[in-house]
Protein backbone atom coordinates (compact mmCIF):
# COMPACT_ATOMS: atom_id res chain seq x y z
CA UNK A 1 0.00 0.00 0.00
CA UNK A 2 0.93 3.64 -0.29
CA UNK A 3 2.90 4.24 2.89
CA UNK A 4 2.77 8.06 2.74
CA UNK A 5 -0.97 7.92 2.43
CA UNK A 6 -1.28 5.57 5.36
CA UNK A 7 1.07 7.66 7.51
CA UNK A 8 -0.94 10.75 6.74
CA UNK A 9 -4.13 8.99 7.70
CA UNK A 10 -2.58 7.66 10.89
CA UNK A 11 -1.53 11.14 11.94
CA UNK A 12 -5.07 12.35 11.57
CA UNK A 13 -6.41 9.60 13.79
CA UNK A 14 -5.99 11.45 17.03
CA UNK A 15 -8.52 12.31 19.68
CA UNK A 16 -9.90 15.79 19.80
CA UNK A 17 -8.36 18.20 22.35
CA UNK A 18 -11.58 18.12 24.34
CA UNK A 19 -11.38 14.39 24.75
CA UNK A 20 -7.76 14.55 25.70
CA UNK A 21 -8.53 17.26 28.26
CA UNK A 22 -11.38 15.23 29.72
CA UNK A 23 -9.08 12.25 30.04
CA UNK A 24 -6.48 14.33 31.82
CA UNK A 25 -9.12 15.51 34.28
CA UNK A 26 -10.25 11.95 34.92
CA UNK A 27 -6.71 10.84 35.47
CA UNK A 28 -6.09 13.70 37.89
CA UNK A 29 -8.90 12.53 40.15
CA UNK A 30 -7.96 10.27 43.01
CA UNK A 31 -8.50 6.67 42.15
CA UNK A 32 -11.69 5.47 43.72
CA UNK A 33 -11.80 2.06 45.15
CA UNK A 34 -14.31 -0.02 43.37
CA UNK A 35 -17.30 -0.28 45.64
CA UNK A 36 -18.53 -3.75 46.44
CA UNK A 37 -22.00 -4.14 44.93
CA UNK A 38 -23.60 -5.52 48.09
CA UNK A 39 -27.05 -4.78 46.75
CA UNK A 40 -26.38 -6.86 43.67
CA UNK A 41 -24.98 -9.74 45.72
CA UNK A 42 -27.94 -9.60 48.07
CA UNK A 43 -30.43 -9.81 45.21
CA UNK A 44 -28.59 -12.78 43.72
CA UNK A 45 -28.50 -14.58 47.09
CA UNK A 46 -32.20 -13.93 47.65
CA UNK A 47 -33.04 -15.32 44.21
CA UNK A 48 -30.92 -18.41 44.86
CA UNK A 49 -32.60 -19.00 48.23
CA UNK A 50 -36.00 -18.60 46.57
CA UNK A 51 -35.17 -21.17 43.88
CA UNK A 52 -33.76 -23.68 46.38
CA UNK A 53 -36.74 -23.22 48.71
CA UNK A 54 -39.18 -23.72 45.87
CA UNK A 55 -37.26 -26.77 44.72
CA UNK A 56 -37.42 -28.38 48.14
CA UNK A 57 -41.03 -27.42 48.74
CA UNK A 58 -42.31 -28.77 45.44
CA UNK A 59 -40.94 -32.26 46.09
CA UNK A 60 -38.75 -32.05 43.05
CA UNK A 61 -35.78 -33.01 45.18
CA UNK A 62 -37.08 -36.55 45.55
CA UNK A 63 -37.61 -36.90 41.82
CA UNK A 64 -34.18 -35.39 41.23
CA UNK A 65 -32.62 -37.90 43.60
CA UNK A 66 -34.31 -40.76 41.79
CA UNK A 67 -33.05 -39.50 38.45
CA UNK A 68 -29.52 -39.08 39.75
CA UNK A 69 -29.53 -42.56 41.25
CA UNK A 70 -30.76 -44.06 38.02
CA UNK A 71 -27.94 -42.36 36.17
CA UNK A 72 -25.32 -43.73 38.48
CA UNK A 73 -24.02 -47.10 37.30
CA UNK A 74 -23.75 -48.88 39.65
CA UNK A 75 -25.79 -47.12 42.35
CA UNK A 76 -23.53 -46.24 45.23
CA UNK A 77 -25.94 -47.36 47.96
CA UNK A 78 -27.20 -50.47 46.14
CA UNK A 79 -26.28 -53.71 47.91
CA UNK A 80 -24.39 -56.31 45.91
CA UNK A 81 -25.27 -59.99 45.79
CA UNK A 82 -22.75 -62.45 47.13
CA UNK A 83 -20.96 -64.66 44.64
CA UNK A 84 -18.46 -67.50 44.39
CA UNK A 85 -15.53 -67.44 42.04
CA UNK A 86 -15.02 -70.85 40.46
CA UNK A 87 -12.50 -70.05 37.76
CA UNK A 88 -9.05 -71.44 38.49
CA UNK A 89 -10.05 -72.86 41.86
CA UNK A 90 -10.74 -76.40 40.65
CA UNK A 91 -14.22 -76.20 42.07
CA UNK A 92 -16.93 -78.30 40.47
CA UNK A 93 -19.71 -76.36 38.93
CA UNK A 94 -22.89 -77.56 40.52
CA UNK A 95 -25.23 -77.34 37.61
CA UNK A 96 -23.23 -79.42 35.15
CA UNK A 97 -22.24 -82.07 37.64
CA UNK A 98 -25.76 -82.40 38.92
CA UNK A 99 -27.06 -83.21 35.48
CA UNK A 100 -24.50 -85.96 34.98
CA UNK A 101 -23.64 -87.42 38.34
CA UNK A 102 -26.96 -87.37 40.03
CA UNK A 103 -26.78 -84.37 42.26
CA UNK A 104 -23.14 -83.63 43.09
CA UNK A 105 -22.60 -83.27 46.80
CA UNK A 106 -26.29 -83.50 47.59
CA UNK A 107 -26.79 -86.66 45.62
CA UNK A 108 -29.74 -85.21 43.79
CA UNK A 109 -30.19 -84.38 40.13
CA UNK A 110 -30.67 -80.87 38.95
CA UNK A 111 -34.16 -80.92 37.63
CA UNK A 112 -34.59 -77.23 37.06
CA UNK A 113 -34.84 -75.14 33.97
CA UNK A 114 -31.69 -75.11 32.00
CA UNK A 115 -30.94 -71.91 30.12
CA UNK A 116 -32.41 -72.13 26.67
CA UNK A 117 -33.86 -75.57 27.29
CA UNK A 118 -36.94 -77.31 28.60
CA UNK A 119 -37.51 -78.57 32.09
CA UNK A 120 -35.30 -81.57 32.61
CA UNK A 121 -37.31 -84.45 34.14
CA UNK A 122 -36.17 -85.63 37.51
CA UNK A 123 -34.00 -88.70 37.41
CA UNK A 124 -33.45 -88.45 33.70
CA UNK A 125 -29.76 -89.09 34.25
CA UNK A 126 -29.21 -91.21 37.32
CA UNK A 127 -26.20 -93.47 36.94
CA UNK A 128 -26.29 -94.93 40.45
CA UNK A 129 -28.70 -96.96 42.49
CA UNK A 130 -31.39 -99.46 41.64
CA UNK A 131 -32.58 -98.83 38.13
CA UNK A 132 -36.04 -100.25 38.76
CA UNK A 133 -36.50 -98.07 41.85
CA UNK A 134 -35.42 -95.03 39.92
CA UNK A 135 -37.80 -95.78 37.10
CA UNK A 136 -40.59 -96.03 39.62
CA UNK A 137 -39.54 -92.73 41.15
CA UNK A 138 -39.67 -91.12 37.72
CA UNK A 139 -43.17 -92.49 37.23
CA UNK A 140 -44.18 -91.15 40.64
CA UNK A 141 -42.75 -87.77 39.70
CA UNK A 142 -44.78 -87.77 36.51
CA UNK A 143 -47.93 -88.52 38.51
CA UNK A 144 -47.16 -85.59 40.77
CA UNK A 145 -46.61 -83.31 37.79
CA UNK A 146 -49.87 -84.46 36.25
CA UNK A 147 -51.69 -83.33 39.38
CA UNK A 148 -49.99 -79.95 39.31
CA UNK A 149 -50.68 -79.54 35.59
CA UNK A 150 -48.02 -76.86 35.24
CA UNK A 151 -49.22 -74.73 38.16
CA UNK A 152 -47.23 -75.30 41.33
CA UNK A 153 -48.89 -74.63 44.70
CA UNK A 154 -47.26 -72.34 47.25
CA UNK A 155 -46.29 -75.22 49.50
CA UNK A 156 -44.41 -77.11 46.78
CA UNK A 157 -40.65 -76.44 46.75
CA UNK A 158 -39.62 -78.94 44.07
CA UNK A 159 -38.68 -82.57 43.91
CA UNK A 160 -35.70 -84.71 43.05
CA UNK A 161 -34.65 -88.38 43.07
CA UNK A 162 -32.00 -89.22 45.61
CA UNK A 163 -29.28 -91.87 45.32
CA UNK A 164 -31.42 -94.59 46.81
CA UNK A 165 -34.11 -94.04 44.20
CA UNK A 166 -36.63 -92.23 46.38
CA UNK A 167 -38.52 -89.22 45.12
CA UNK A 168 -37.88 -86.43 47.61
CA UNK A 169 -40.68 -83.88 47.62
CA UNK A 170 -39.78 -80.58 49.27
CA UNK A 171 -42.40 -78.70 51.27
CA UNK A 172 -42.07 -75.02 52.04
CA UNK A 173 -41.18 -74.30 55.68
CA UNK A 174 -44.14 -71.99 56.14
CA UNK A 175 -46.35 -75.05 56.57
CA UNK A 176 -47.00 -76.35 60.05
CA UNK A 177 -44.56 -79.23 60.73
CA UNK A 178 -47.24 -81.08 62.61
CA UNK A 179 -49.69 -80.81 59.77
CA UNK A 180 -49.32 -83.97 57.70
CA UNK A 181 -52.19 -83.15 55.38
CA UNK A 182 -49.99 -82.20 52.49
CA UNK A 183 -47.80 -85.25 52.85
CA UNK A 184 -50.83 -87.48 52.92
CA UNK A 185 -52.22 -85.69 49.90
CA UNK A 186 -49.01 -86.22 47.96
CA UNK A 187 -48.93 -89.86 48.96
CA UNK A 188 -52.52 -90.14 47.89
CA UNK A 189 -51.73 -88.59 44.50
CA UNK A 190 -48.67 -90.66 43.84
CA UNK A 191 -49.99 -93.93 45.32
CA UNK A 192 -46.44 -94.99 46.04
CA UNK A 193 -44.19 -95.65 49.00
CA UNK A 194 -41.14 -94.40 47.07
CA UNK A 195 -41.74 -90.85 48.31
CA UNK A 196 -39.88 -88.92 51.01
CA UNK A 197 -40.40 -85.40 52.24
CA UNK A 198 -38.06 -82.60 53.18
CA UNK A 199 -38.47 -78.92 53.94
CA UNK A 200 -37.22 -75.90 52.04
CA UNK A 201 -37.53 -72.14 52.17
CA UNK A 202 -38.76 -71.13 48.74
CA UNK A 203 -41.61 -72.49 46.69
CA UNK A 204 -40.96 -73.57 43.13
CA UNK A 205 -43.50 -71.00 42.00
CA UNK A 206 -41.40 -68.28 43.61
CA UNK A 207 -38.25 -69.61 41.96
CA UNK A 208 -40.03 -69.74 38.61
CA UNK A 209 -41.09 -66.15 39.14
CA UNK A 210 -37.47 -65.22 39.73
CA UNK A 211 -36.52 -67.15 36.60
CA UNK A 212 -39.00 -65.08 34.60
CA UNK A 213 -37.39 -61.92 35.91
CA UNK A 214 -33.94 -63.25 35.03
CA UNK A 215 -35.15 -64.15 31.55
CA UNK A 216 -36.26 -60.56 31.09
CA UNK A 217 -32.83 -59.12 31.91
CA UNK A 218 -31.69 -58.99 28.25
CA UNK A 219 -34.57 -56.61 27.58
CA UNK A 220 -34.70 -54.71 30.86
CA UNK A 221 -30.93 -54.35 31.27
CA UNK A 222 -29.49 -54.80 27.77
CA UNK A 223 -26.10 -53.34 28.71
CA UNK A 224 -25.64 -55.71 31.66
CA UNK A 225 -27.02 -58.88 30.04
CA UNK A 226 -23.63 -59.74 28.56
CA UNK A 227 -22.37 -60.66 32.04
CA UNK A 228 -25.05 -63.35 32.51
CA UNK A 229 -23.70 -66.60 31.07
CA UNK A 230 -26.51 -68.84 32.27
CA UNK A 231 -29.11 -69.49 34.97
CA UNK A 232 -31.36 -72.30 36.03
CA UNK A 233 -33.30 -73.74 38.98
CA UNK A 234 -31.60 -76.30 41.21
CA UNK A 235 -34.58 -77.94 42.90
CA UNK A 236 -32.43 -80.12 45.14
CA UNK A 237 -30.74 -77.06 46.61
CA UNK A 238 -33.95 -75.02 46.39
CA UNK A 239 -32.30 -72.11 44.66
CA UNK A 240 -31.44 -70.61 41.30
CA UNK A 241 -27.91 -70.91 40.08
CA UNK A 242 -26.61 -68.02 38.02
CA UNK A 243 -23.28 -68.00 36.24
CA UNK A 244 -21.69 -64.64 35.55
CA UNK A 245 -18.75 -64.10 33.26
CA UNK A 246 -17.33 -61.54 35.66
CA UNK A 247 -18.25 -59.94 38.98
CA UNK A 248 -19.81 -56.84 37.51
CA UNK A 249 -21.20 -54.58 40.28
CA UNK A 250 -24.27 -53.66 38.26
CA UNK A 251 -25.13 -57.29 37.56
CA UNK A 252 -24.63 -58.14 41.23
CA UNK A 253 -26.82 -55.24 42.29
CA UNK A 254 -29.57 -56.45 39.92
CA UNK A 255 -29.37 -59.91 41.49
CA UNK A 256 -29.40 -58.38 44.96
CA UNK A 257 -32.60 -56.54 44.11
CA UNK A 258 -34.17 -59.83 42.94
CA UNK A 259 -32.90 -61.76 45.95
CA UNK A 260 -32.88 -59.49 49.02
CA UNK A 261 -32.19 -62.40 51.41
CA UNK A 262 -29.19 -63.48 49.34
CA UNK A 263 -30.09 -67.17 49.46
CA UNK A 264 -32.56 -67.77 46.64
CA UNK A 265 -29.91 -67.17 43.99
CA UNK A 266 -26.50 -68.79 44.03
CA UNK A 267 -24.07 -66.76 41.94
CA UNK A 268 -20.99 -68.25 40.40
CA UNK A 269 -18.44 -66.11 38.65
CA UNK A 270 -16.20 -67.70 36.07
CA UNK A 271 -16.26 -69.97 33.07
CA UNK A 272 -18.54 -72.94 32.95
CA UNK A 273 -17.49 -76.49 32.05
CA UNK A 274 -14.38 -76.23 34.15
CA UNK A 275 -14.87 -79.39 36.20
CA UNK A 276 -12.51 -82.14 35.25
CA UNK A 277 -10.55 -84.45 37.53
CA UNK A 278 -12.74 -84.24 40.59
CA UNK A 279 -15.81 -85.73 39.01
CA UNK A 280 -14.88 -89.39 39.21
CA UNK A 281 -14.63 -92.16 36.70
CA UNK A 282 -18.29 -92.44 35.86
CA UNK A 283 -18.43 -88.87 34.67
CA UNK A 284 -18.67 -88.55 30.95
CA UNK A 285 -15.47 -86.82 29.94
CA UNK A 286 -13.73 -86.23 26.70
CA UNK A 287 -10.13 -87.00 25.81
CA UNK A 288 -8.92 -83.72 27.30
CA UNK A 289 -10.43 -84.60 30.65
CA UNK A 290 -13.00 -81.83 30.58
CA UNK A 291 -16.64 -82.44 31.15
CA UNK A 292 -19.07 -82.07 28.31
CA UNK A 293 -21.64 -79.66 29.70
CA UNK A 294 -25.32 -80.33 29.27
CA UNK A 295 -25.77 -76.86 27.87
CA UNK A 296 -23.09 -75.12 25.87
CA UNK A 297 -23.00 -71.66 27.31
CA UNK A 298 -21.69 -68.74 25.43
CA UNK A 299 -18.30 -67.81 26.78
CA UNK A 300 -17.15 -64.22 27.16
CA UNK A 301 -16.47 -62.98 23.68
CA UNK A 302 -19.18 -65.07 22.08
CA UNK A 303 -17.29 -68.35 21.57
CA UNK A 304 -19.07 -71.56 22.57
CA UNK A 305 -17.44 -74.60 24.03
CA UNK A 306 -15.39 -76.04 21.15
CA UNK A 307 -16.11 -79.39 19.53
CA UNK A 308 -14.07 -82.40 20.42
CA UNK A 309 -12.71 -82.84 16.93
CA UNK A 310 -10.60 -80.09 15.60
CA UNK A 311 -10.07 -81.23 12.06
CA UNK A 312 -7.52 -78.59 11.23
CA UNK A 313 -5.32 -79.64 14.11
CA UNK A 314 -5.11 -83.25 12.95
CA UNK A 315 -1.95 -84.00 11.04
CA UNK A 316 -2.65 -85.60 7.69
CA UNK A 317 -1.22 -89.10 7.56
CA UNK A 318 -1.32 -91.67 4.73
CA UNK A 319 -2.90 -94.74 6.19
CA UNK A 320 -1.57 -98.06 4.89
CA UNK A 321 -3.80 -100.96 3.90
CA UNK A 322 -4.16 -104.13 5.98
CA UNK A 323 -2.91 -107.29 4.29
CA UNK A 324 -3.55 -110.95 4.77
CA UNK A 325 -0.28 -112.64 5.70
CA UNK A 326 -1.08 -115.68 3.59
CA UNK A 327 -1.80 -113.62 0.51
CA UNK A 328 0.92 -111.10 0.52
CA UNK A 329 1.21 -108.96 -2.61
CA UNK A 330 4.30 -109.17 -4.76
CA UNK A 331 5.32 -105.62 -3.97
CA UNK A 332 5.06 -104.28 -0.44
CA UNK A 333 3.73 -100.77 -0.02
CA UNK A 334 6.01 -97.96 1.02
CA UNK A 335 6.51 -97.13 4.61
CA UNK A 336 4.10 -94.67 6.21
CA UNK A 337 5.37 -91.14 5.82
CA UNK A 338 3.85 -87.83 6.61
CA UNK A 339 2.55 -86.09 3.55
CA UNK A 340 4.38 -82.90 4.40
CA UNK A 341 7.96 -84.15 4.56
CA UNK A 342 10.79 -81.67 4.74
CA UNK A 343 13.69 -82.34 2.40
CA UNK A 344 16.74 -81.34 4.35
CA UNK A 345 19.19 -82.26 1.60
CA UNK A 346 19.12 -80.13 -1.57
CA UNK A 347 18.47 -82.05 -4.75
CA UNK A 348 21.73 -81.02 -6.40
CA UNK A 349 23.73 -82.58 -3.50
CA UNK A 350 22.20 -86.02 -4.03
CA UNK A 351 24.69 -88.14 -6.02
Amino acid sequence: MNKELLDSMQKQMIPSPEVREALSKKLARPVKKRTVPWMKYGVVAACAALVIGGFLASGMSQKYTVIVRSLQRPPIEAPLHSYVTVEGLGEIIQENTAALTGGGDTGAPNTGDLPGGEMAPSGALVPEGDIAAQEEAVAVYQKLMDHFDGYYPRWYGGAYIDRSGYLVVQLVEEQDPGDKTLELQVLDWTESSQVMFSSCKYSLAHLNQLMDQLNRIPTTHPYDAEYFAGWGIDEACNRIEVTLTEADPTALSILASLDPDDDAIYVQVGQRASADVALGEDVRTDSAGTEDPAVHHVMPGGATVPDDKDLIAEEPWSDGARYDLEKLPEELPQQKQPIFEVQSVPEEDIP
Binding site: M1, M9, Q10, I14, S16, L23, K26, L27
Partner: protein, 167 residues
Protein backbone atom coordinates in the same frame (compact mmCIF):
# COMPACT_ATOMS: atom_id res chain seq x y z
CA UNK B 1 13.23 8.00 22.22
CA UNK B 2 12.83 8.97 25.86
CA UNK B 3 12.60 6.07 28.28
CA UNK B 4 9.27 5.92 30.07
CA UNK B 5 8.54 4.27 33.40
CA UNK B 6 7.60 0.65 32.82
CA UNK B 7 5.23 0.63 35.75
CA UNK B 8 1.76 1.71 34.77
CA UNK B 9 0.59 4.96 36.35
CA UNK B 10 3.79 6.95 36.04
CA UNK B 11 4.44 9.52 33.30
CA UNK B 12 0.92 9.31 32.01
CA UNK B 13 1.05 12.42 29.81
CA UNK B 14 4.12 11.17 27.97
CA UNK B 15 2.64 7.74 27.52
CA UNK B 16 -0.62 9.14 26.18
CA UNK B 17 1.33 11.35 23.79
CA UNK B 18 3.29 8.40 22.50
CA UNK B 19 0.42 5.93 22.12
CA UNK B 20 -2.64 8.05 21.52
CA UNK B 21 -2.46 7.58 17.74
CA UNK B 22 -2.07 3.85 18.12
CA UNK B 23 -4.95 3.48 20.54
CA UNK B 24 -7.26 5.96 18.92
CA UNK B 25 -6.60 4.67 15.39
CA UNK B 26 -7.39 1.12 16.39
CA UNK B 27 -10.49 2.21 18.30
CA UNK B 28 -11.63 4.23 15.30
CA UNK B 29 -11.05 1.31 12.95
CA UNK B 30 -12.93 -1.07 15.20
CA UNK B 31 -15.89 1.16 16.10
CA UNK B 32 -16.15 3.18 12.89
CA UNK B 33 -17.09 6.50 14.51
CA UNK B 34 -15.35 9.13 16.60
CA UNK B 35 -17.81 9.19 19.48
CA UNK B 36 -17.24 5.56 20.36
CA UNK B 37 -13.54 5.89 19.64
CA UNK B 38 -13.35 8.77 22.14
CA UNK B 39 -14.96 6.59 24.80
CA UNK B 40 -12.67 3.68 24.08
CA UNK B 41 -9.64 5.97 24.13
CA UNK B 42 -10.46 7.29 27.58
CA UNK B 43 -11.36 3.88 28.98
CA UNK B 44 -8.12 2.33 27.77
CA UNK B 45 -5.88 4.92 29.41
CA UNK B 46 -7.94 4.95 32.60
CA UNK B 47 -7.59 1.16 32.76
CA UNK B 48 -3.89 1.53 32.10
CA UNK B 49 -3.51 4.04 34.94
CA UNK B 50 -5.38 1.83 37.39
CA UNK B 51 -4.00 -1.58 36.47
CA UNK B 52 -0.72 -1.14 38.37
CA UNK B 53 1.04 -3.45 35.92
CA UNK B 54 4.80 -3.43 35.36
CA UNK B 55 5.77 -4.02 31.74
CA UNK B 56 8.87 -5.77 30.48
CA UNK B 57 9.53 -3.31 27.67
CA UNK B 58 7.81 -0.93 25.28
CA UNK B 59 6.64 -3.73 22.99
CA UNK B 60 4.93 -5.35 25.96
CA UNK B 61 3.25 -2.07 26.84
CA UNK B 62 2.15 -1.46 23.26
CA UNK B 63 0.75 -4.98 22.98
CA UNK B 64 -1.16 -4.51 26.25
CA UNK B 65 -2.63 -1.21 25.07
CA UNK B 66 -3.69 -2.64 21.70
CA UNK B 67 -5.25 -5.72 23.28
CA UNK B 68 -7.10 -3.57 25.83
CA UNK B 69 -8.29 -1.29 23.05
CA UNK B 70 -9.74 -4.22 21.15
CA UNK B 71 -11.50 -5.46 24.28
CA UNK B 72 -12.93 -2.05 25.17
CA UNK B 73 -14.05 -1.44 21.60
CA UNK B 74 -15.76 -4.80 21.50
CA UNK B 75 -17.52 -4.01 24.75
CA UNK B 76 -18.78 -0.72 23.32
CA UNK B 77 -19.86 -2.05 19.94
CA UNK B 78 -21.45 -5.27 21.14
CA UNK B 79 -23.53 -3.83 23.97
CA UNK B 80 -27.21 -4.49 23.55
CA UNK B 81 -27.97 -0.92 24.56
CA UNK B 82 -25.94 0.39 21.65
CA UNK B 83 -27.51 -2.01 19.20
CA UNK B 84 -31.03 -0.91 20.14
CA UNK B 85 -30.51 2.85 20.07
CA UNK B 86 -30.48 5.40 17.27
CA UNK B 87 -28.25 8.51 17.52
CA UNK B 88 -30.12 11.78 18.08
CA UNK B 89 -28.04 13.78 15.67
CA UNK B 90 -26.33 12.80 12.49
CA UNK B 91 -23.15 14.38 13.82
CA UNK B 92 -22.93 11.69 16.45
CA UNK B 93 -22.73 9.00 13.84
CA UNK B 94 -21.01 11.01 11.19
CA UNK B 95 -18.38 9.21 9.13
CA UNK B 96 -14.76 9.90 9.89
CA UNK B 97 -13.39 12.52 7.53
CA UNK B 98 -9.82 13.06 6.48
CA UNK B 99 -8.19 15.99 4.75
CA UNK B 100 -7.62 14.40 1.36
CA UNK B 101 -10.34 12.73 -0.72
CA UNK B 102 -8.02 9.82 -1.46
CA UNK B 103 -7.68 9.24 2.26
CA UNK B 104 -11.43 9.28 2.70
CA UNK B 105 -11.82 6.78 -0.12
CA UNK B 106 -9.25 4.43 1.39
CA UNK B 107 -10.93 4.78 4.76
CA UNK B 108 -14.35 4.00 3.33
CA UNK B 109 -12.96 0.98 1.55
CA UNK B 110 -11.33 -0.17 4.78
CA UNK B 111 -14.52 0.31 6.73
CA UNK B 112 -16.49 -1.62 4.15
CA UNK B 113 -14.44 -4.73 4.92
CA UNK B 114 -15.68 -7.14 7.51
CA UNK B 115 -14.03 -6.88 10.92
CA UNK B 116 -12.13 -10.13 10.38
CA UNK B 117 -10.24 -8.50 7.52
CA UNK B 118 -10.29 -4.89 8.70
CA UNK B 119 -8.34 -5.32 11.91
CA UNK B 120 -5.45 -7.37 10.44
CA UNK B 121 -5.16 -4.89 7.56
CA UNK B 122 -5.04 -1.94 9.96
CA UNK B 123 -2.55 -3.55 12.35
CA UNK B 124 -0.32 -4.73 9.52
CA UNK B 125 -0.25 -1.59 7.33
CA UNK B 126 -0.94 1.23 9.79
CA UNK B 127 0.71 -0.10 12.95
CA UNK B 128 3.29 -2.12 11.02
CA UNK B 129 3.01 -5.16 13.28
CA UNK B 130 4.23 -8.56 12.12
CA UNK B 131 1.80 -11.37 11.37
CA UNK B 132 3.02 -13.14 14.51
CA UNK B 133 2.27 -10.10 16.70
CA UNK B 134 -1.14 -9.72 15.08
CA UNK B 135 -1.84 -13.40 15.63
CA UNK B 136 -1.05 -13.11 19.35
CA UNK B 137 -3.14 -9.98 19.64
CA UNK B 138 -6.19 -11.41 17.92
CA UNK B 139 -5.69 -14.91 19.41
CA UNK B 140 -5.65 -16.60 16.02
CA UNK B 141 -3.02 -18.60 14.12
CA UNK B 142 -0.40 -16.75 12.02
CA UNK B 143 -1.61 -18.65 8.99
CA UNK B 144 -5.08 -17.30 9.57
CA UNK B 145 -3.65 -13.77 9.78
CA UNK B 146 -1.87 -14.21 6.46
CA UNK B 147 -5.00 -15.59 4.88
CA UNK B 148 -7.09 -12.69 6.14
CA UNK B 149 -4.50 -10.19 4.92
CA UNK B 150 -4.52 -11.79 1.47
CA UNK B 151 -8.29 -11.79 1.19
CA UNK B 152 -8.56 -8.29 2.69
CA UNK B 153 -6.05 -6.99 0.15
CA UNK B 154 -7.98 -8.58 -2.70
CA UNK B 155 -11.17 -6.94 -1.55
CA UNK B 156 -9.46 -3.57 -1.13
CA UNK B 157 -7.90 -3.87 -4.60
CA UNK B 158 -11.31 -4.55 -6.04
CA UNK B 159 -12.86 -1.58 -4.24
CA UNK B 160 -10.07 0.87 -4.94
CA UNK B 161 -9.45 -0.35 -8.52
CA UNK B 162 -5.69 -0.09 -8.01
CA UNK B 163 -5.59 3.73 -8.02
CA UNK B 164 -4.26 4.11 -4.51
CA UNK B 165 -3.17 0.61 -4.06
CA UNK B 166 0.27 -0.69 -4.82
CA UNK B 167 1.92 -3.75 -3.48
Amino acid sequence: MEALPLRAGGGMEDIIDRYQNTVYGLALTKTGNRTDADDVFQEVFLAYCQCGKTFRDEDHRKAWLLRTTINQARRVTSSSWRQKTVPLSEQEDAPVSFKEPEENRVWEALQSLSEDYRLPIYLFYFQELSTLQIAKMLAIRPGAVRMRLTRGREQLREKLKGVYFDE
